[in-house]
Amino acid sequence: MKKYFLIVLSLLFLNVTKSNAQEVFGTVDYDYTSDWVKIYNRATYLTKEEKEREAMTSRNWTPNAEKMKLFFDGTGSYYTYESQDAGSPGGYSWQKADYFITRDFTTNMLTEIHNVQGRTFTVVDSIRAPKWKVLNELKDIGGYMCMKATTYDDVKKQNVTAWFCADIPVSIGPEQYTGLPGLILEISVDDDAVLITAKRIDLKVKPEIPKLSAKKLKGKKSKMADFNNFITQHLKDSAYKHEFAWGLRY
C-alpha cells in the first residue's frame, strides 16, 4: 500500500485548473503486442544458456497484436478488448477472459474486472497512481508530443516506461496505468516485452462511455491489495515450481 503514492491532491488540482479548459474526451485504439521471447527470458529460474537458446530458436517469431480500446471523458474511462472475438479471418478463434478497467473521476474510484483462470476479481477501490519519474525525453505518437515517465511495478516486478501527452490533460492510460499529467499513449513493459501503443486517437467525437453491466458486477468485491496479493503469490508459486506464470495478463 505504501508503495503507491496517493495523488488525490494532484487530481483535485488538475480538476480545479482544468475547469478553465474545455472538457477532454475521446477514444483511443491501442495495439497490445507481447514479445514472448522477452517475456519468457525474464523467468528467474532459467539459466543463461536456456534463455539464450530460447531467444535463438525463436528469433524469427513475430509477435502478434491484440486490439484494445479506451473510452474517456471528463467523468470517467472504460478500457477493454476491442472485440470479444479474436483471431484473423479464417483463423482459429479463442475466447477472451473478462478484462474491464474503468475509472470514475467524480468519485476517484476504480472498478476493474479481472478473470484469472476461473477466479473473477471485481476490484472496487480508490484510484492510486504508481510513483512516476518524469524524464527529459520527447517523442511523437500519432502526432502528439509525448514525454517519458518510468516506474517500477512492485507487484509484477516490472520496469514500466510510459509516454504521455501533457497536452491531453486526462490522467489515464491503457491497462491499469494512471497518474500522469496527461493521457498515456504508449506503455513499454520490460524493454518492449509488452508494448502497448496508441494506433488511433480520436478526440473530436465525445464517446458514449460503456458501463459495466449489473450482471458483471454481481458477486464479492475485492480491494486492489487483495488482487495484488493474489498475483504476488501466483508469481512466487510459479517461480518455485520452475513454471511460467501462465494465466496472468503480463
Binding site: 494532484s10 478463434s93 479463442w94 467524480t106 476461473g118 520452475h242 506464470a245 494465466g247
Partner: protein, 945 residues
C-alpha cells in the same frame, strides 16, 4: 470531491494559522513564450530533484499563471513542457517565505529542425540532457550497407565534410566512442567509416573532458565535443560453446563439443561427437543450439487440405531407421555401438529473407547379440524356437539440408525446402535357430550367414507459394514437391536347414532341400511428384470456405537379380529374380466450410479421392510379362471437427474423419515370393484400399493458478476392407502368407488424467488411467480367428518438491493385458506389466549435486511362466566449479545392479516371444564439461526439466 473540499479548507486554514515557518509552502509562477506572450493551459510538474519522481502537477490558467498550494517544504524540480517547446526545468529552493515565486518562466522553442525532423518525421524519441541531445538512430533510414558516416549525415545537428570530418552542434568532434569505449586509434573516422549503420542503436553527443585532465586527474575546465555510438543489443556479436569429455570403466569414452557464432543476421554453428556409449544422435538442446533460429519451421507442409490420406512414400530401406534430417536421439541405442558425428550449420535471417543450410555426417558401428525364445502355435500343436544371433552393422550418412523462405511483399511468400541423404550400410549377420518340440527336443536347426551391403540416396524437396489477396481473409497457395528414394543392395545369403527325427513329432520337411547359398542384387528406385492447390474465401466474419486439390504421381522400379552360388557358373535363379515397374496416380478434390467465432471452431468438409494403381511384373527386363495390375479406386471421404475453446484454458473437441489408404504394391504382385523358404508370401492383385473411420472426443482443462489439470478423451476406430495377412501353415511348418481384405476390425479406448496439488508447490499428485480394446481378425489355415485384446493401465505420479535443494519424482504404473483367441481358447493369456520409477535430485553445499534414477520393471505372464523383474539404477555426483560456474566435474554410475539386459516381450496372433539383447551395462564414468554460458546450478522442480 465535495466531501474532501471542507477537509482541505480546514487543512489550509490550520496551516495559515500556524507560525511563519510553515512546513507547507506554495509555489507559483507565470509561463510565457519566446515572444513573452502568456501561455495558458501549460502543464507544470513538481518533481523530486533526487530521482525526478512526480510529486504533483498542475496547469497554467488563461493568464499563464500557475500555483501549487500547500506542498511540503523542500527542494523541487519545476518542469514545464509544451508541444514544440524545449522542456524547461529549474530547481526550486524554498526560502524563508511561505510562497515561493518562480517568476516569469520563458519557454524556448525546440530547435525547429530537431522537432520537425527527429520527432515528427523520423518518429524518433529525442532525449535532452542539459545541452546533450540523443537520438534513436534506428528511426533514421539509410540504405542497407551504409556506414555510420552515412547515418550521421542524416542526423539533424550534424555536419560532415567530404572527407568525413564530423561537426556536431557546430563544434568539431575529435573523439568517437563505441559503447562508451574508444574505438581503435584516435581518428574518429575509423569508427564512422567502418561500422555499419544498422549496428547503431543510439547516437549521443556530449562534452568530454580533455585527455590532459583525464590523465592528470586535474580538472582543466576544457571540454571537447565527443560522440558515443551505442550498439544495438542484438547486433552485439556473440559466441558460445560447450565441451564435454569423459572416460570410464570397460573402456567407455565419450566426447562432444559445439561452438556457435552469431550476430543479428548470421548464425554459424559447428558440432561434433564421438562415443562408445550408444549415443547416436543429438539431444534436443544440442539440436536447438546447432540449428538455432531454424530449429522449428512452420509453413513447411506442402500437402494442403485434410491431413493424411496421401499416397505413402518411404525413405530408405526397411532395415534402417535413419532420419532424413539431422538425427536426434532419445535415450541410448541398443546393443553396443561406437558412434561418430559432426556437422556445420549456417543461417541467415532477416525479416523478409530466411536461409538455412547444414551438412551433417554420422557413422555408427553396432554389435548386436540377440537371444530370442518364442512359442509358436500351429493348429492343434505348438513348438519352441530358440534363436541366437550376432550381427555387426556399419552405417554412414551424409546429409545436406537447405531451406529458403522469402517474404516477397506483404502478400506473397515463397518457401523452398531441400533435404538429401546419401547413406552406406553393411551388415554381417549370423544366426543359429533351434526348433524344439513341446517336450523340448530339437527337431530342426537352421544356420544362417548373411552379408549385406547397400547404398541409399534420398531426396525430399518442396516449393510452396502463398498469396494473400487484398480482400481480408482471401488466400491462395500452391505447392510442388519432388521426392526420391534409391536403394542399391548387394547381399549374400547362406542358410542350412537340418531335420532331426523325434519320436511322435511329424512336422518334418521330409526330403525337401531348403538350403540357400545365393547372391541377391537388388535395386529399388521410387520417385514421387506432388502438387497441391488451396483457396480460402471468407463468406462473412464468422464463416469461410476452402477448396483444395492434391495430385501425386509415384513411380517405383524394382530390379532384383538372384544368383545361385552353389553352382560354379553362378546361374541366375529366375524363380526368385524379379523386375517390375509400377505407378500410382492420386487425385483428391475437396472442400470444407469453417465457422470460427468466440472460441467455437467448426469445420465440415468432404473430399473425393481417386487412386489409379498400375504395375507390370517380369522375371527380368527383357523377359515376357508375368502379370500386371491396373486398378482404379474412388472414395468419398467426410471430415469434420468441432473445437470449442472455453474460457480459463478449457477445451472441448470432437472429430470424425475417414481415411482411405491404397494397398501396397508389394502386396499386389501376382506371384509368390519364396526368398525365405520357410515363410512364403504371395501377393493379391484384387486388394481393395483400406478404409478407416476415426472418431475422437475429449475435454481438457488446465489451471496454472491452482495447478489442477484434467485431460480426458475417448477414441473409436472401425476398419472396412482392412488389409490383413492370412496364414496357412503346412505339415512341414512352412508358413504361407496372403494379404486379403476384411471388414470388422475395430479399436476403442479412453484416456483420463487428473493432476492436483496436495500441498501447493510442495507435493502434487497425478492419477491417470487408459485402456483400449481391440478386435483383430485373421484367417489361420482358412479358419477365422477373432483376436480380442483388452488392455488396462493405471498410473500414479507424485512430485515432491518440498525445499529448494531437494526434489523427488515418483511414478508407479500397473497394466493388465488380456488376449483371447476364438479358434484356440487354450492360447488365451494374461500379461501384467509393472513399473516403478523414481528420480531424485539433491543439492549439497559447495555446489555439489547428487542425482539418481531408479527404474524397476516387472513382466509377468502366468501361462508361460514369465516372471521378470529388472531393477536399473543410475547415479551421479557432480560439482560446479569456478567463479563464473562454467565448469563441471561429474562421476556417473550407470546400471549399478548390472541388470540392463535389453529385455522385451510380445505376443501376436499365434506367437509369444521374449527377446534379450546384450547391451550397455554397469560402468562408471568420469566427465568434465566446460560451458561458456555457464552450468545450471538449480535443482529441477518439474518432472520434465
Amino acid at each position: 470531491m465535495k466531501k474532501l473540499l471542507p477537509l482541505l479548507l480546514l487543512f489550509f486554514s490550520v496551516t495559515i494559522l500556524k507560525a511563519q515557518q510553515s512546513p507547507k509552502i506554495n509555489i507559483k509562477g507565470i509561463v510565457v513564450d519566446t515572444a513573452k506572450a502568456v501561455m495558458p493551459f501549460t502543464p507544470v510538474f513538481l518533481l523530486q530533484p533526487a530521482d525526478s519522481s512526480l510529486v504533483t502537477f498542475a496547469r497554467s490558467n488563461e493568464n499563464g499563471e500557475f500555483e501549487f498550494k500547500g506542498v511540503k517544504r523542500q527542494n523541487y524540480l519545476l518542469k514545464i513542457t509544451y508541444m514544440s517547446y524545449l522542456p524547461h526545468q529549474e530547481l526550486i529552493k524554498p526560502n524563508e517565505s511561505n510562497v515561493i515565486d518562480a517568476g516569469t518562466i520563458q519557454l524556448k522553442l525546440l530547435q525547429k529542425e530537431l522537432y520537425e525532423v527527429v520527432v515528427k518525421t523520423a518518429k524518433a524519441p529525442i532525449s535532452i540532457k542539459g545541452d546533450t541531445v540523443e537520438y534513436d538512430a534506428r528511426k533514421f533510414k539509410v540504405p542497407p550497407g551504409s556506414s555510420v558516416e552515412d547515418l550521421l549525415r542524416k542526423l539533424p545537428g550534424f555536419q560532415l565534410d567530404s572527407e568525413g570530418n564530423i561537426k556536431a552542434q557546430g563544434e568539431t568532434v575529435n573523439k568517437v566512442f563505441v559503447d562508451g569505449k574508444r574505438f581503435f586509434g584516435d581518428d574518429p573516422k575509423l569508427a564512422t567509416k567502418n561500422l555499419p549503420a544498422e549496428s547503431i542503436n543510439k547516437v549521443q553527443v556530449f562534452n568530454d573532458k580533455s585527455e590532459q585532465s583525464k590523465l592528470t586527474g586535474v580538472e582543466d575546465g576544457k571540454r571537447e565535443k565527443a560522440v558515443n555510438l551505442e550498439l544495438k543489443e542484438e547486433f552485439k556479436k556473440g559466441g558460445f560453446g560447450k565441451l564435454t569429455a569423459g572416460v570410464g570403466t570397460d573402456q567407455r569414452v565419450m566426447g562432444k563439443g559445439n561452438y556457435n557464432k552469431f550476430d543479428s543476421k548470421n548464425q554459424f554453428s559447428i558440432i561434433g561427437f564421438g562415443n562408445n556409449i550408444n549415443q547416436t544422435g543429438l539431444s534436443g538442446n544440442d539440436y536447438e543450439d546447432f540449428k538455432g533460429s531454424q530449429s522449428y519451421n512452420w509453413n513447411n507442409n506442402a500437402d494442403f487440405g485434410f491431413s493424411g490420406g496421401m499416397v505413402r512414400f518411404s525413405y530408405g530401406s526397411d532395415e534402417e531407421s535413419e532420419s532424413i534430417g539431422v538425427p536426434q536421439s532419445w535415450g541410448p541405442g541398443s546393443g553396443l555401438s561406437k558412434n561418430y558425428a559432426g556437422g556445420v550449420n549456417y543461417n541467415y535471417d532477416t525479416k523478409k529473407t530466411k536461409f538455412s543450410s547444414n551438412y551433417f555426417y554420422n557413422q555408427s558401428t553396432q554389435n548386436l547379440s540377440v537371444f530370442q525364445n518364442s512359442q509358436n502355435f500351429i493348429p492343434d500343436n505348438s513348438f519352441f524356437l530358440r534363436d541366437s544371433s550376432q550381427s555387426g552393422n556399419f552405417t554412414a550418412n551424409h546429409r545436406l539440408s537447405l531451406r529458403f523462405e522469402k517474404e516477397i511483399d506483404s502478400l506473397n511468400t515463397l518457401v523452398l525446402n531441400f533435404n538429401g541423404r546419401l547413406g552406406d550400410r553393411s551388415t554381417d549377420y549370423n544366426s543359429m535357430k533351434n526348433y524344439l518340440t513341446p517336450g523340448e527336443s530339437v527337431f530342426r536347426t537352421m544356420k544362417a550367414l548373411n552379408v549385406n551391403d547397400a547404398t541409399t540416396g534420398v531426396i525430399a524437396s518442396s516449393a510452396i507459394y502463398r498469396h494473400k489477396f487484398m480482400k481480408k481473409g482471401r488466400s491462395f497457395a500452391a505447392s510442388a514437391s519432388y521426392n526420391l528414394n534409391n536403394i542399391d543392395k548387394d547381399a549374400r545369403q547362406n542358410s542350412v536347414i537340418r531335420d532331426y527325427p523325434v519320436a511322435g513329432w511329424d512336422y518334418n520337411i521330409g526330403g525337401r532341400n531348403f538350403d540357400i547359398f545365393q547372391n541377391d542384387l537388388g535395386l529399388v528406385n521410387s520417385n514421387q511428384i506432388k502438387s497441391s492447390l488451396l483457396f480460402i474465401e471468407p463468406l462473412s466474419k464468422k464463416f469461410n470456405i476452402e477448396g483444395f486439390y492434391n495430385f501425386s504421381n509415384t513411380r517405383s522400379l524394382v530390379d532384383r537379380d538372384v544368383y545361385n552360388l552353389f553352382s560354379d557358373g553362378k546361374p541366375r535363379i529366375d524363380s526368385l529374380s524379379r523386375y517390375y515397374e509400377n505407378t500410382i496416380n492420386y487425385n483428391r478434390l475437396g472442400t470444407a466450410l469453417r465457422y470460427n467465432y468466440k472460441g467455437l471452431n467448426i469445420a465440415l468438409g468432404a473430399a473425393g479421392q481417386q487412386f489409379n494403381l498400375k504395375g507390370k511384373f517380369y522375371n527380368d527386363q527383357n523377359k515376357p510379362l508375368l502379370g500386371s495390375v491396373d486398378r482404379k479406386y474412388f472414395a468419398l471421404v467426410p471430415n469434420s471437427s468441432i473445437n470449442y475453446a472455453l474460457k480459463n484454458n478449457r477445451f472441448l473437441f470432437v472429430n470424425y474423419d475417414v481415411g482411405v489408404q491404397e494397398p501396397r504394391m508389394k502386396d499386389m504382385q501376382p506371384f509368390q515370393d519364396n526368398s525365405n523358404p520357410l515363410y512364403i508370401t504371395s501377393g493379391n492383385p484384387d486388394l481393395l484400399p483400406q478404409t478407416t473411420h476415426n472418431a475422437f472426443a475429449g475435454f481438457s482443462m488446465f489451471n496454472p493458478v491452482s495447478f489442477i489439470n484434467i485431460f480426458a478423451n475417448v477414441n473409436y476406430t472401425y476398419s472396412v476392407n482392412q488389409i490383413i495377412y492370412n496364414q496357412t501353415i503346412d505339415q512341414n511348418l512352412v508358413t504361407y502368407i496372403k494379404p486379403e481384405n476384411i471388414s470388422g476390425g475395430k479399436r476403442y479406448g479412453y484416456y483420463f488424467q487428473f493432476g492436483f496439488p496436495i500441498k501447493k508447490t510442495k507435493i502434487s499428485a497425478n492419477v491417470s488411467s487408459n485402456s483400449y480394446f481391440a478386435q483383430n481378425l485373421i484367417y489361420i489355415n482358412s479358419k477365422l480367428n477373432e483376436n480380442n485384446t483388452e488392455n488396462y493401465n493405471v498410473n500414479f505420479r507424485l512430485d515432491l518438491t518440498p525445499v529448494d535443494w531437494f526434489s523427488l519424482f515418483i511414478n508407479a504404473s500397473h497394466g493388465i493385458g488380456k488376449a483371447q483367441y476364438s479358434i484356440n481358447t487354450t492360447q488365451n493369456q494374461r500379461f501384467i506389466n509393472q513399473n516403478l520409477s523414481a528420480n531424485m535430485v539433491i543439492q549439497l553445499p559447495k555446489l555439489i549435486f547428487f542425482t539418481s534414477d531408479f527404474n524397476y520393471m516387472g513382466y509377468k505372464n502366468e501361462r508361460f511362466g514369465f516372471d521378470q523383474k529388472i531393477p536399473i539404477l543410475n547415479m551421479a555426483v557432480y560439482k560446479v566449479l569456478g567463479k563464473a560456474k562454467k565448469s563441471e566435474v561429474r562421476v556417473t554410475l550407470y546400471d549399478a545392479f548390472k541388470k540392463n539386459q535389453g529385455i522385451s516381450q510380445g505376443a501376436s496372433s499365434n506367437l509369444v516371444s521374449q527377446t534379450q539383447t546384450v547391451t550397455l551395462s554397469r560402468y562408471l564414468m568420469f566427465t568434465y564439461t566446460y560451458n561458456m554460458r555457464g552450468i545450471s546450478t538449480k535443482v529441477k522442480k518439474n518432472r520434465w526439466e
